[in-house]
């Protein structure tokens, strides 16, 4: 029987991670995008595009956090796939909005 408390069990994984400056740059970018979002909401009225701009900025921020800070970009394909699963679920979930949006496009008879 193998004794697993032995120091032979100490291994070096095939790690990979970016230099700290990449993390710092990501942090500054996230704060910058946050203030862009804030300033746009306070001083620039783009009508129906307000929410589009806000969501695009959010998606860029979330992608930066997932890919760089959570390190998905530096992990294996399996981890990348698993991370993607959650966002595919979100997309499927939000397609149900299509039902609510289009429900009154067709005028159905009132019935008896």
């Amino acid at each position: 029987m193998t004794d697993h408390s032995h120091d032979d069990d100490l291994k070096h994984a095939d790690h990979a991670m970016p230099k700290p400056i990449i993390y710092t740059a990501t942090w500054i970018m996230l704060l910058g995008l946050l203030f862009v979002n804030y300033l746009q909401s306070q001083y620039l009225d783009l009508g129906a595009f307000n929410i589009v701009i806000a969501l695009v900025i959010c998606l860029i921020q979330a992608s930066a956090v997932v890919l760089i800070m959570m390190g998905v970009n530096f992990h294996s394909t399996l981890v990348k796939f698993w991370a993607l699963v959650g966002f595919v679920w979100l997309m499927l979930l939000f397609t149900t909005l299509g039902d609510y949006i289009t429900r009154h496009w067709i005028h159905l008879p009132q019935g008896w």
Partner: protein, 261 residues
């Protein structure tokens, strides 16, 4: 050397558990397990975001009035705090990977401070909302004089200084008189605040859980406990903390910024 080049050397060694063939498999297993948990969290918060979108589309005017009374300064401060906390956590994971206990403790301490700071700001915000009677229920109250409140044509047709329960008797009217419409609008605004308190409250619960986990880790690292010899507990806590940050990245504009123009 380019700053985009990945660091592959200088990492601390890890102990291989007997059920794994090699250390990379072990690490991948931990991370995939954590991501599975995070996917269930995405489903959980995703459904709440869907409900918010649905009702916002159904009652745009009432929701915009309710959006307008939320104080952006609180939301913005918390967004800065959480994004900074995420950065400190990333640096903490990096320090632990390199086996630098002193720096791990420093970065983890900063992350903990950010988490506590978030709760302090949130408690001030909740206190102000309770004071203004914006918590849904019998005490819910709405006035057009609320600072920053929407004063467009939609709301100006009716007096909006009556408490919600004061106009209940008028709701028996079969026609849509002003008090009845006012009552309906009051219910829609309460619906917004119900969603607001559920979403931000659940997020705050996640922050509290994060504080408990990070606090435990902090002491385990401080006393060099064998369970934190490996960097994985810090890495997995980091993944959780980044998720909490991502939720706020979406909550902030969707609750505080939309409807401010």
């Amino acid at each position: 050397m380019s700053i985009f080049e990945l660091q592959r050397e200088g990492f601390a060694s890890q102990r291989l558990a007997h059920q794994f063939e090699e250390i990379n498999q072990q690490n991948e297993c931990y991370i995939v397990g954590m991501w599975t948990f995070l996917v269930t969290e995405i489903m959980f918060f995703g459904a709440l975001f869907l409900i918010l979108s649905l009702y916002r589309m159904a009652y745009p005017a009432s929701f915009e009035q309710a959006h307008a009374v939320l104080l952006v300064s609180f939301g913005l401060t918390n967004a800065v705090i959480l994004i900074s906390g995420s950065y400190f956590m990333t640096m903490c994971v990096r320090a632990k990977m390199l086996g630098d206990y002193r720096m791990t403790q420093l970065w983890l301490g900063l992350t903990l401070l950010c988490a506590c700071g978030f709760l302090v700001v949130k408690s001030f915000e909740y206190a102000s909302e309770f004071k203004d009677h914006h918590f849904p229920g019998p005490s819910f109250h709405w006035e057009t004089t609320t600072p920053g409140a929407y004063t467009g044509s939609y709301s100006s047709q009716f007096s909006t200084t009556m408490p919600a329960n004061a106009v209940n008797s008028a709701a028996v009217s079969s026609t849509y008189s002003a008090p009845v419409t006012q009552n309906l609008n009051m219910h829609k605004r309460q619906l917004f605040f119900s969603l607001y308190f559920i979403m931000t409250g659940l997020h705050a619960v996640h922050v509290i859980i994060g504080i408990l986990i990070m606090g435990t880790l902090f002491f385990l690292i401080r006393y060099r406990h064998p369970s934190v010899d490996d960097y994985m507990p810090v890495e997995l806590t980091g993944l959780y903390w980044h998720f909490v940050d991502i939720v706020w990245i979406f909550l902030f504009p969707l609750l505080y910024l939309i409807g401010k123009q």
